[in-house]
Amino acid sequence: MEKNKKNKPNFSSEFKNFFKFLLSEMKPKGKLLTPFNIIAAFVIALGGVLIFFRFYNGLASVTNLSQEFPWGIWVGFDVITGVAFAGGAYVVTFLVYILRMEKYHAIVRVTVLNGLLAYMFYAGALLLDLGKPWNIINPVIGNSFGMNSVMFLVAWHFLLYMTAEFLEFSPAIAEWLGWKKVRKVLHGMTLATVIVGITLSILHQAGLGGLFLMAKSKIHPLWYSEFIPILFFVSSIFAGLSMVILEGSITHKVFFRKLTPELKRTHHDILLGLSKICGGTMFVYLFLKALTFLHEQHWHYIFSPMGNWFLVEIVFFVVLPMIMFTQAARYRNVKLVKASSILTLLGIALNRLNISIIAFKWDAVERYVPTWMEIEITMAIILVEIVVLGWIINRMPVLGESPMWVKEQEKAAENLAH
């Protein structure tokens, strides 16, 4: 619409065309009745029914939450693990726009899109968990700011980061709609939004760990440390990149025909590069873990059941994938990269669930085990996200080439700069 400001007489017809275009884009592309679609539709429909029950009958009707365990998997997995998985966006934008590693430019858009959707859906899942979700505007509009609260910090950083990610992705939307001038403006804002986005990300990834600082007497000493925020931040780097590797491999297969020739050519190189970074950050993480372990003198806990469980997490889900990542990068073994990314993601989920649920009140008689309905709703949310992701990738220039006019615009901008 805005590109049309100069010739106003055409406005209404232009708007009609735009509306028609949107309508035509709404329609699904490709086959509708694939096995994946059928299963997804069923899970999502069932999830919808259960969500209705949750709001109609209260949290107790679908969850196993209790007075002892106020947070279940909707927080421990959907939000706290989900956000760590979504950390890829800030790491990749850091590589491309701050360190100027052009190699990763081809995956920026899809990574940012993944991150944005993950935040929208997984942080959005928090709405299901809130007792009074309609009061969620209270900390936003300013009638009651809990400035001393880590949760306040996390909530605001979520909100601002989602805005930053949306702006980072918005040039793709402008290209899809053919809004040339808008695209130019949005594209010009990229570096600023990236810098703001990285800062916000580091702080809210750490902030999610900070939520547990006051639960000192409730979390097993092997998992509790005053460095939880730093551990959460460092682990979000390789968690996010592992997700980029996994999602990249899947979209590479599913959307192969859409890929730019460049992405087809450099896909393996990108995965191997990310693998090296993952291995490196995991080493830093392991070092920090060892430091807190030695510093707090936790040796005597190791020979308890919880201590063994701790060792499982560290040995099989940190040390092992760390070695696999470095070996994979060294011998250029892409399959090994994928395998270690899966192992890493499982390890991150395990770590976050340990802190929020398993090692939380580890000595309590009553334990929290999620109901099938909590798991079902979580799956439904993930599937809706995947469907939306597919819808966008099929329409906007995410993996594929931007329209021709974008290249002209960029060339013109470059000439102006020189």
């Binding site: 709001f55 109609y56 009958n57 209260g58 949290l59 107790a60 969850t63 939450l65 209790s66 007075q67 002892e68 106020p70 947070w71 850091f94 726009y97 701050i98 360190l99 100027r100 928090l126 968990d129 809130l130 007792g131 009074k132 979700p133 009061n135 969620i136 209270n138 900390p139 009638n143 009651s144 700011f145 809990g146 001393n148 609260s149 880590v150 949760m151 306040f152 910090l153 909530a155 570096l191 810098i195 703001v196 990285i198 800062t199 580091i202 702080l203 750490a206 902030g207 900070g210 939520l211 547990f212 600082l213 006051m214 639960a215 000192k216 007497s217 409730k218 005053e226 925020p229």
Partner: protein, 283 residues
């Protein structure tokens, strides 16, 4: 600058900093104005008159739990206080338990909407119109006091509010009023600490020489006296004396520092990387 202007400036500066100080007062260690409840377990007979008064005052169903040794009753959305019984040596001790009304409450510092709030009078209260129901207060409270109405469509957080409405009307909390044995007394925190010490000094053999709640996690507005060590009465005695919000202050202080220092740093790296890349291409 002459003296008058100087005084004006000082006055203005004082005014400017006042609101900040005032909002902090609610969370501060200062206990000058805080009121408190003193519970003397050596005088408690386990009659549960306090629980009946509590239920009535808070319009809740009648308390159903009876103190039985070996069973640890816990507060619930329908019962904001409990009386537990402990067999220690040859003594049968009954203890009323409820919210401790900490001086620097974990729940209030956890709350992102200030729904959980430490009042100037001492009680920690909860306000329905602000609460989002995130239950971060429950996660943070070292005593596991806030309780949530999972069964309800519009659930509330339930906990003792020291009969805040009665206090504001000049009354004393219902439990203190109902206690026939002077095991629950109410007054300013200073006076209650003095009263507790007086009881210990006058009968040094009847009490352990410790007031639970005086220093625990930064001090509380509920104080306990006991004849036996507190850990034998189900009290959490290993929490330390540091106020709970202290656990998050280091992290929270680092936030504005990172927020101001990191962006220019990132910008600098970005430009340096661009320059070196262009130089590399130039060759």
């Amino acid at each position: 600058m002459d003296r008058r202007n100087f005084m004006k400036a000082v006055g203005l500066m004082g005014l400017a900093t006042m609101p900040g100080k005032k909002t902090k007062a609610g969370q501060s260690v200062s206990d000058k104005e805080f009121n408190a409840i003193l519970i003397d377990t050596t005088l408690c007979e386990g009659c549960e008159a306090c629980l009946d008064a509590c239920s009535e005052s808070n319009k809740l169903p009648e308390a159903v739990t009876d103190p039985v040794a070996g069973i640890e009753n816990k507060t619930s959305p329908n019962q904001l206080a409990v009386v537990n019984m402990y067999n220690v040596e040859d003594l049968e001790v009954t203890v009323k338990k409820q919210c401790m009304h900490c001086n620097q409450p974990a729940c209030a510092s956890a709350c992102l909407t200030n729904a959980m709030f430490k009042t100037e009078e001492g009680p920690v209260i909860w306000r329905a119109d602000k609460c989002m129901g995130c239950r971060f207060c429950m996660l943070s409270c070292p005593y596991d006091i806030p309780k949530f109405e999972y069964e309800k469509v519009n659930p509330d957080i339930k906990k003792c509010n020291m009969c805040y409405d009665r206090i504001k009307d000049g009354d004393i909390p219902a439990c203190a009023e109902a206690c026939p044995a002077e095991a629950i007394v109410y007054g300013t925190r200073k006076d209650m600490l003095e009263e507790a010490r007086r009881r210990i000094y006058q009968n040094p053999d009847d009490y352990v020489h410790h007031i639970f709640g005086e220093d625990e996690v930064g001090g509380a507005s509920v104080l306990y006296l006991s004849a036996v060590p507190f850990e034998k009465l189900g009290f959490k005695t290993k929490l330390g004396n540091e106020a709970m919000p202290k656990l998050t202050t280091d992290f929270l202080y680092s936030v504005p520092v990172i927020e101001t220092l990191l962006p220019p740093f990132l910008l600098a790296i970005s430009f340096a990387a661009k320059k070196s890349k262009e130089a590399g291409e130039g060759k």
